[in-house]
């Protein structure tokens, strides 16, 4: 392993920071969902990197990564269905237009 663990973690941290920026700064709900995908990617990268470097004989980490991907898929489907519904009702996907949903 010529590439150290820290390098992978740095890449994951950068991806996480970009994901946070996207989630906060983007105006369209679809772009916010894309940012969430980048966050999930960063998490998966962290999990797999730690698996490879600290416990390569225990494959539980890969199971966890698979579950993260699964939950991400569900989140995506529900999120896009919600966006579609809101778009149909209000003709806009901008999250700023949904502030009246704030109960």
């Amino acid at each position: 392993m010529t590439v150290p663990l820290t390098a992978y973690l740095v890449v994951a941290a950068l991806l996480f920071a970009i994901g946070v920026y996207t989630v906060v700064a983007q105006r369209s709900a679809v772009m916010v969902l894309m940012g969430v995908e980048v966050l999930l990617n960063a998490i998966g990268l962290n999990v797999v990197a730690f698996w490879r470097f600290t416990a390569p004989t225990d494959y539980s980490a890969q199971v966890l990564a698979i579950l993260v991907v699964t939950v991400g898929a569900i989140e995506m489907a529900i999120g896009l269905a919600l966006v579609l519904l809101l778009y149909r009702q209000r003709r806009t996907v901008e999250v700023d237009a949904y502030t009246d949903l704030n109960g």
Partner: protein, 312 residues
């Protein structure tokens, strides 16, 4: 030789991953954002394969690119202004170029962390460098947001013009009347600072942390078989739970996306055919019809020529 290849592959994959995510976050066109996101996914899949988690890498490509991205692009096509054409007229290109320049310091920090793994001093140096570069980042975004507001102003005034809105019905429909058309919210500088702070804190924590208990053990090259056995044996409940979650999630998504059956629902009203004359277009900004009458003749001439050429 092998080591050089490892470093090269890691550098390429991480560059694709980070640059793709950065492009996704900063480009003005939603469709391009989706394509950048695909590049980022591919980069992360490459990193997974480098980490000898082949199964996760392939799953990444299949799930994220084959599934999510198709969903996202499908959603984007429904959106208002998916290609960012409205942004084209605003003076953004130099600032966007500024953003692509902003890629360099981050990658320097990454490669610095990769080049000197052992020396703690080198690491803290890289951390400082990253921090030093991250600050102008935030400021640049500050400037961008301010400029952006300025660029959006004339457009808002434009949209406020009642006649123009009638002629340009598409704009009014999107509910974007007098607002600026950017894809980002006014809190963008704040978000940039927040993201820079998160990145600096995470990277700083990495460099402050003493070494992890890294082992030299090599995973089974046939890791997919081991993962499958674990899924069917030790994590059976989690596996079944995930399956149930998918089932419920798909039910929920279908229920949400289905048009409502309530008669007063606007989604139903939109589907009904309306037997009314459309509004007349007052100013379509085309040439008067008198000139259009003379047009067919030269066209015929041209086609005749083309035919002759074809025969010759």
């Amino acid at each position: 030789m092998m080591a050089a290849f490892d470093i090269l592959a890691f550098g390429a994959c991480s560059f694709v991953a980070v640059a793709g995510a950065l492009g996704m976050a900063t480009t003005m066109s939603m469709f391009r954002s989706g394509i950048f996101l695909m590049a980022s996914f591919i980069g992360v899949a490459g990193l997974f394969i480098l980490l000898s988690a082949d199964l996760i890498g392939l799953l990444q490509v299949m799930m994220y690119i084959g599934g999510f991205l198709v969903m996202i692009l499908f959603m984007v096509l429904v959106m208002h202004d998916p290609g960012g054409a409205m942004m084209a007229g605003m003076e953004l290109s130099p600032l966007e170029r500024w953003f692509s320049k902003g890629l360099v310091p981050r990658d320097e920090a990454t490669s610095a962390g990769q080049d000197d793994p052992a020396s703690g001093e080198g690491r803290s140096h890289a951390g400082n460098r990253h921090e030093g570069h991250a600050m102008p980042h935030g400021e640049g975004r500050h400037g961008h947001a301010r400029d952006h507001g300025g660029g959006a102003m004339p457009h808002g005034a434009h949209g406020g013009h009642a006649e123009h809105r009638h002629a340009d019905h598409q704009h009014g429909d999107g509910g974007h009347g007098g607002m600026d058309m950017s894809m980002v919210t006014p809190v963008r500088p704040l978000a940039a600072w927040l993201a820079a702070a998160a990145g600096v804190v995470l990277v700083g924590m990495l460099f402050l942390r003493p070494a992890w208990p890294v082992t030299d053990a090599v995973p089974d090259p046939d890791s997919a078989r081991r993962v499958g056995n674990l899924l069917m044996d030790k994590y059976m409940v989690a596996f079944e739970g995930a399956g149930f979650l998918i089932l419920i999630g798909i039910f929920g998504a279908v229920l949400l996306a289905r048009p409502s059956t309530h008669p007063d629902d606007p989604s139903r009203a939109a589907k009904a055919a309306v037997d009314a004359k459309p509004e007349a277009i007052r100013d379509d900004r085309l040439a008067p019809l008198a000139e259009a009458g003379g047009a067919p003749e030269p066209e015929h001439h041209g086609s005749h020529h083309g035919h002759e050429d074809h025969v010759g």
